[in-house]
Amino acid sequence: MSGLFSQMVLGLINGAFYALLSLGLAIIFGLLGVINFAHGALYMLGAFVSWGLLHYAGIGYWPALVISPLVVGLFGIVLERTLLQRLYRIDPLYNLLLTFGVALILQGLFLNRFGSSGQPYAIPEILRGAKNLGFMVLPIYRAWAMVVSLVVCLGTWFVTERTKLGSYLRAATENPALVQAFGVNVPRMVTVTYGLSVALAAFAGVLAAPIYQVSPTMGSDIIVVVFAVVVIGGMGSIMGSIVTGFALGLVEGLTKVVYPPASNTVVFAMMALVLLVRPAGLFGKAP
């Protein structure tokens, strides 16, 4: 029985990462019409930056939780300014291919340097150990990762749906030319939004580092699942991304208990099912 609960917790944590990544993808897609294939690689980069900070500079988990998203966010801004921006006026598929190329370069560089085996990253002192809840033993770090990513997800939802900045963002998603005419610097907003979305991915990477090993392929492993999550949820709403992400993580966790061999494929099977029943996605608008 405790196996069930611990798999559910692990599933929810994975779900939190799916939510953080698909959230960023949805925001970028809404504003730029681009699917950022490099999102997984930037998640991996986030984890590696925090590992590097600890390994080479002795900077621990807590500063890394801020520094790493900042570094990766800046990297994202450079990426958007130098490469992505050149292709906005042509078929968005080219930007998908461009970001795919960037993902390959990042993954390849880290594979050459570190090999395909993972690097361990220790859990910070105060989050070690586990708490016995009676019906299960809950490792404290996992509880922390789950709660903090939920808070960040809801915070992102709040910013985009309930603040003035968010309303600019949503307006620019609807009609960038009109928003620009009102005096909002849309290109700069696009750059900053891309940077922030990428920073969210890096943040997920730092959170993931102590749970999974830090490995070059962690990005490509997760991005394919996140794409399926995006297809299932539809990229119409922020809350939709969050709910779909957590729900699919949970489904995956439960599958690990019921029938482990299917746990890798269950999300894709769900995607096929959703395509049959509701092709636009659970929260998507019909095309």
Binding site: L93, L96, L104, Q107, G108, L111, V231, N264, L275
Partner: protein
């Protein structure tokens, strides 16, 4: 526009746009085919035959992929599933069931066709970027199934697949005989694709690529056409995969991995999207790059990524596109 819309499924002849088959046709397209065949016939005298056979298999794979992206505008990010599933199916048929090579290949093609039908049926429900993500997801599912199934032998793959004797009397164990066979398969696949592209059906596909709403308004059931093109592409990718399995006497997880799906996109992009001979050139370039980088150790993925970025930014017409513009001829 006429009052009566064309019936779906059977396009009227008039719907086919006049294709460049005037005097330039004889001078360029047949010439391209003749030069390509000639080069491939004499190539094994200079280059390593197994390298060339790999190039031809992947070139056929890329041509099949190009049929979708170049002529229907559908970016499949999971084409490795057709290559890989056919490779596994034919390898299993040849090794375990002891089928003749031609039957083993046909079995592989059949498996890829059925898979293409199911995947296409699901994926064409969404367009553009979603289509790419769906095919990628379904391909990943096939990858995990191949990883876990027992007949695929997991990480080892199906090894030591017998090449067998073609039609019962041509021994494919000899490298040069095998080369001739692969060349035949490649040319057959290439001609099928060429024929499809230059048929009224191909013209409708191009119309869908250019303006799907317009094609629908003209009375074409675009989903129907997309599905047929998808299945055809899957079957030809399967033909490439099944042949490749016999060449290397191996079917492995690499064939179904997403990196292979990425590779085929790269080949088509380098050669030129929507150029019928582009993917062939692209395949030789990509396999060449890979062989070179594998020799100097590591960096294959980085090199692929860099080429991807450069191609997308600076070189979207591809080699054949540039060449075609320079020579002012369709290539």
């Amino acid at each position: 526009m006429t009052a009566t819309p064309a019936p779906t499924g059977t396009p009227p002849r008039a719907a086919a746009t006049p294709l460049p088959r005037t005097s330039g046709f004889w001078q360029s397209e047949y010439l391209v085919f003749a030069v390509m065949t000639g080069l491939l016939v004499i190539a094994p005298l200079i280059a390593y035959p197994v390298f060339l056979m790999k190039c031809m298999c992947l070139a056929l794979f890329a041509c099949a992929f190009n049929l979708l992206i170049g002529y229907v505008g559908l970016l499949s990010f999971g084409h490795a599933m057709f290559l890989g599933s056919a490779a596994y199916a034919s390898a299993h048929a040849a090794k375990v069931w002891g089928l003749w090579p031609e039957l083993a290949i046909l079995f592989g093609v059949a498996v890829a066709t059925v898979l293409g039908l199911v995947v296409g049926w699901l994926a064409i429900r969404r367009q553009g970027i979603y289509f790419a993500m769906i095919t990628l997801g379904l391909a990943q599912m096939i990858y995990f199934l191949c990883l876990q199934a027992t007949f695929t032998h997991g990480e080892d793959g199906i090894q030591a697949v017998p090449r067998g004797t073609l039609f019962g009397f041509i021994d494919l164990g000899d490298t040069m005989v095998m080369y001739g066979f692969v060349l035949g398969v490649f040319l057959l696949g290439f001609l099928i694709i060429y024929r499809v592209i230059h048929s009224p059906f191909g013209a409708v596909l191009t119309a869908i690529r250019e303006n799907e709403v317009r094609a629908t308004s003209l009375g074409y059931n675009t989903d129907h056409y997309k599905l047929i093109a998808f299945v055809l592409s899957a079957a030809l990718a399967g033909l490439a995969g099944a042949t490749k399995a016999l060449v290397f006497q191996l079917a492995s997880l690499t064939d179904v991995h997403w990196t292979t799906s990425g590779e085929v996109i790269l080949m088509t992009l380098i050669g030129g999207l929507g150029r019928f001979s582009g993917p062939v050139v692209g395949a030789f370039v990509v396999v060449g790059i890979e062989t070179y980088f594998a020799r100097i150790g590591g960096g294959v993925i980085v090199a692929q990524g860099v080429v991807f970025v450069l191609c997308v930014l600076l070189f979207r017409e591809g080699i054949i596109g540039k060449l075609s513009a320079a020579l002012k001829r369709p290539l």
